[in-house]
């Protein structure tokens, strides 16, 4: 098979040997599991259990909330002790909604029901995928049910199983392919069934010969038509657009996705999880995690989601001089805000830091436009220009220069002789743009609402006027419609009522003036006359005062 070279890339020290020689260590059950609701891209899951509920392993504890979301399950049996904010592995360091389970140590499964995927309607099958909690385990944790939906996009001709694992230190996919290749390929079968790709390729970097051999053997054994390809080891060769270029030669359009050129890419871990879910009825409650770096026994563990990272470190042998934990690899990973944050679906690696392995970044110097970042950028951007624009908050120009094509691989920060944390600047610019767009959307909505209100008031006024006019017209039109007899009767009634009222008025005579002497009577008459005169004057129009 002809391979193609994607642009850019670097060759950092691999550090794979440390953890790749030992087999995957079986899962252990910690006393407490903390399951964050936001482990995937999209809407966080919605809790469906209450504090005090007893849950079994694999039981759904939170449901998918909307289309871009997946469900979450109890990683082990136990009791729900808390539903609230807790520390999560996120670069922001902000706590998030989590369900805490106090485990009972029995690790008792709920009933596991495999799905007969060959005879299930595709839409229903994708619903199962979502309810089994399957999201991309390569790091992006995008809900797999959406990626497995071929509707609405260009036809997918090639399905790529991504076994690149290009980040230094990480070996979880390597070990998974070596030990559990058959399940990976069974998962790929389901994917191929759902998205209808003719071609199935597994891309594995050539620093993992054992994994390549294991995948080939397994494919032959279970009869899956797949091409297992050894790719050159170049970081970031495992990026979606990069592996697509390497294996198919297709350039993903700027601003687009690999599906635009008919290629869908899944991480091998996701494929494995899919097979475990549909073929064995096991929802995604654990994943393989590389625990490496500054520990005594670097190794891969099958870890229950929600396991505190600090407990993992204890298992791998904590060492003196630990300075922190990176979740993920040294290129794209981030420092977790606390040692005891839980392992989540995105945690492919728990990398223990020491001063020797990860010395603090030297002070940042000014950019001298040396452009060493340009030839290593896999998106063929001008990182130094984007840096200037981000610094100057010239967000429009940053977008013009394709800021959103940046995959944040970190190659530019790796080579920068001025030690500028370039990706931080790009992330800042991106989040600023998102925030501004959100603000603009809100402002637009508010303006539209206001404009609609004005329009509505105007319309109501007009409608009211029309209604009144119509009413008046009908009244006029209706008035002659009354028969003269009816009118006469009405008039008569009115006149009678008036007559009665006048009679009543006449009958009532003032009593307090009845027996007054004549001079008083005359006085009253005089007063009455004066008042009448005043009333007369008051009735006359008054000249407006001149100022």
């Amino acid at each position: 098979m002809e391979l193609h070279r994607f642009p850019g890339g670097i060759h950092p020290e691999e550090h794979k040997k440390e953890s790749s020689s030992r087999p995957i260590h079986a899962a252990f059950v910690p006393r407490k599991l903390v399951v964050p609701m936001r482990q995937h891209i999209g809407q966080p899951a919605k809790p469906i259990v209450r504090v005090g509920d007893h849950v079994l392993k694999g039981q759904m504890i939170a449901e998918a909330d909307g289309y871009v979301s997946v469900a979450l399950h109890a990683p082990s049996s136990g009791t729900v002790t808390d539903i609230g904010l807790s520390k999560v592995p996120h670069p922001s360091g902000l706590p998030d909604l989590c369900i805490t389970i106090s485990t009972d140590g029995r690790d008792e499964w709920c009933e596991r029901t495999p799905v007969d995927w060959r005879n299930t309607d595709p839409a229903a099958l994708r619903g199962h995928v979502r309810d089994f909690g399957i999201a991309g385990l390569g790091g992006a944790v995008f809900p797999s049910s959406i990626k497995l939906d071929p509707a609405g996009g260009p036809a997918i001709h090639t399905l790529i199983l991504n076994g690149g694992e290009c980040e230094p230190w990480i070996t979880c996919d390597d070990r998974l392919m070596r030990e559990r290749a058959e399940d990976i390929l069974e998962g790929a079968r389901i994917m191929q069934h759902l998205i209808g790709a003719e071609k199935l390729i597994a891309g594995i970097e050539d620093n993992k010969p054992e994994a390549i051999a294991a995948m080939r053997t397994a494919a032959q054994k279970i009869g899956v038509a797949i091409e297992v390809v050894a790719m050159p080891t170049i970081y970031p060769g495992g990026g979606g657009k990069q592996i697509t270029k390497t294996l198919t030669g297709l350039d993903t359009p700027s601003g687009g996705r690999t599906t635009d050129v008919g290629v869908q890419v899944f991480n091998v871990g996701t494929s494995y999880a899919l097979s475990r879910a549909l073929n064995h009825g096991e929802p995604l409650v654990s994943r393989i995690v590389t625990v490496t770096g500054h520990v005594l026994r670097p190794q891969n563990y099958e870890v229950l989601i929600g396991t505190p990272m600090s407990e993992l470190l204890l298992h791998a042998g904590e060492r003196e001089g630990l300075t922190g934990i990176i979740m993920g690899g040294p290129m794209m990973g981030f420092d977790v805000p606390a040692m005891d944050v839980p392992v989540v679906k995105a945690s492919n690696c728990v990398l223990a830091k020491s001063k020797e392995l990860f010395p603090p970044r030297p002070p940042e110097m000014p950019c001298i436009r040396c452009t060493q970042c340009v030839p290593v950028c896999p998106a063929e951007l001008q990182p130094q220009q984007l840096y200037w624009f981000a610094r100057a908050k010239d967000l429009g120009r940053a977008q013009e220069y394709h800021l959103f094509d940046c995959i944040e691989c970190g190659c530019c920060s790796y080579v920068c002789p001025s030690h500028i944390p370039l990706v931080d600047y790009y992330r800042y610019a991106k989040s600023e743009i998102w925030a501004r767009e959100k603000e603009k959307r809100l402002a637009d909505t508010a303006r539209e609402r206001h404009e609609f209100r004005l329009f509505r008031l105007e319309r109501e006024k007009k409608e009211k006027a029309e209604r009144l006019a119509a009413k008046a017209a009908t009244k006029k039109a209706e008035a002659p419609a009354l028969s003269t007899a009816e009118q006469d009767a009405k008039k008569k009634l009115i006149q009678e009522a008036l007559a009665r009222a006048q009679a009543r008025k006449a009958a009532v005579t003032p009593k307090n003036v009845d027996n007054l002497p004549p001079e008083k009577q005359a006085e009253i008459a005089e007063v009455e006359a004066r008042r009448a005169k005043i009333r007369e004057i008051a009735k006359q129009p008054v000249e407006p005062e001149q100022h």
Binding site: P253, V423, D424
Partner: protein
């Protein structure tokens, strides 16, 4: 809480700058070999001035001294300016030049990485406009000088202005080949006559000067091999000179010197590999660098041949520095997957 890579390739601004200095050494050695101690004294003097002025400017701006003095950028400026000045330039000439280079061109524009113009070339331009007499007193190659100055004599000439008794200025300095050509042409001589009448011409360029140029070329190629400078700028710069000079020479060989002669001067080789390639004040895109180099080469010859100054390289590069924002904006390369979109 950084999202950028947690690991770094070995490398620093200091390393870049020191490599530039190292690659200047072949040219410097050839210079000292052919022209004597003057250049060595002036390099040391300019370096001391650079560090002092840099420290002063950093102090005034409230910047930390250690990282910025250690970055080596001031030393590169000092060497580039010293190598552009006559090797026996008086001490105050270097001082004025460095003050403008470091103080105005670099720090008034915002310091390292912010300068629009190459600082050394700004210093040079100020001097050649303000002190034309001193700027044309070039030491004669040792092989041609009536009295080659030794170290002590060079030192006292640079700092005291005094020559050993009985030695006239003419015995020490001489017109450069470019000056000789210019003066000869003004006196209505043809190039052939000028060459025949003077000893300053070597096999391609000037005596000694051509070897200095060769030294810069060797260092420049090393700089490219080390991936410190891109190939586009020097290649385009030399091509610009070659094409422009070649066209003029083809049009009138009696009036316009051959392209080889134009290229084999120290200023051209220094400009091509060490000054036009200054990343801060140069273009950053591949096509932009070609345009930048070609433009600078073209202007250098035009200014040399038709202008009033003995050399045009500095002005040519400064003029092209001005055009960089425009060039960069025009020559943005396509990003990955962009061509397909259209």
């Amino acid at each position: 809480m950084t999202a950028s890579a947690h690991i770094l390739q070995k490398g620093s601004v200091t390393r870049v700058m020191l490599l530039v200095l190292a690659c200047l050494l072949p040219g410097v050695l050839a210079y000292a070999w052919h022209f004597g101690w003057g250049i060595v004294i002036n390099l040391v003097w300019a370096s001391l001035l650079a560090l002092a002025l840099e420290a002063l400017a950093l102090g005034l701006r409230g910047y930390p001294l250690k990282p910025f003095l250690a970055d080596g950028s001031a030393l590169v400026t000092a060497w580039l300016l010293a190598l552009s000045l006559p090797p026996l330039a008086p001490w105050w000439l270097t001082l004025v030049g460095m003050a403008f280079a470091i103080g105005v061109a670099k720090h008034l524009y915002g310091g390292l990485g912010q300068n629009i113009f190459n600082p050394a070339m700004v210093g040079f331009a100020v001097l050649i406009i303000s002190f034309p007499a001193q700027m044309t007193q070039w030491s004669a190659p040792l092989s041609l000088a009536a009295h080659p100055l030794n170290f002590g004599e060079s030192l006292s000439f640079i700092f005291g202005g005094g020559l050993p008794s009985g030695v006239a200025l003419d015995a020490v300095v001489t017109a450069t080949p470019l000056d000789t050509v210019r003066t000869g042409l003004l006196q209505q001589h043809t190039l052939g006559e000028i060459h025949a009448a003077s000893h300053v011409f070597g096999s391609i360029g000037g005596v000694g000067g051509e070897w200095v140029a060769a030294g810069y070329l060797v260092g420049g190629i090393a700089l490219w091999a080390l991936r410190i400078v891109p190939w586009q700028v020097p290649v385009a710069f030399l091509a610009g000179i070659w094409l422009t000079a070649g066209f003029l020479h083809w049009a009138d060989a009696g009036r316009f010197a051959a392209p080889w002669f134009q290229i084999a001067t120290p200023s051209v080789m220094l400009g091509a590999f060490f000054i036009a390639t200054d990343p801060v004040s140069g273009s950053t895109t591949p096509r932009g660098r070609l345009i930048f180099g070609l433009g600078a080469g073209f202007l250098a010859v035009i200014i040399r041949v038709f202008g009033g100054y003995p050399d045009g390289v500095a002005f040519a590069i400064l003029l092209m520095n001005l055009c960089v924002p425009l060039i960069d904006a025009w020559t943005q390369p396509l990003v990955f997957g962009e061509a397909k979109k259209k």
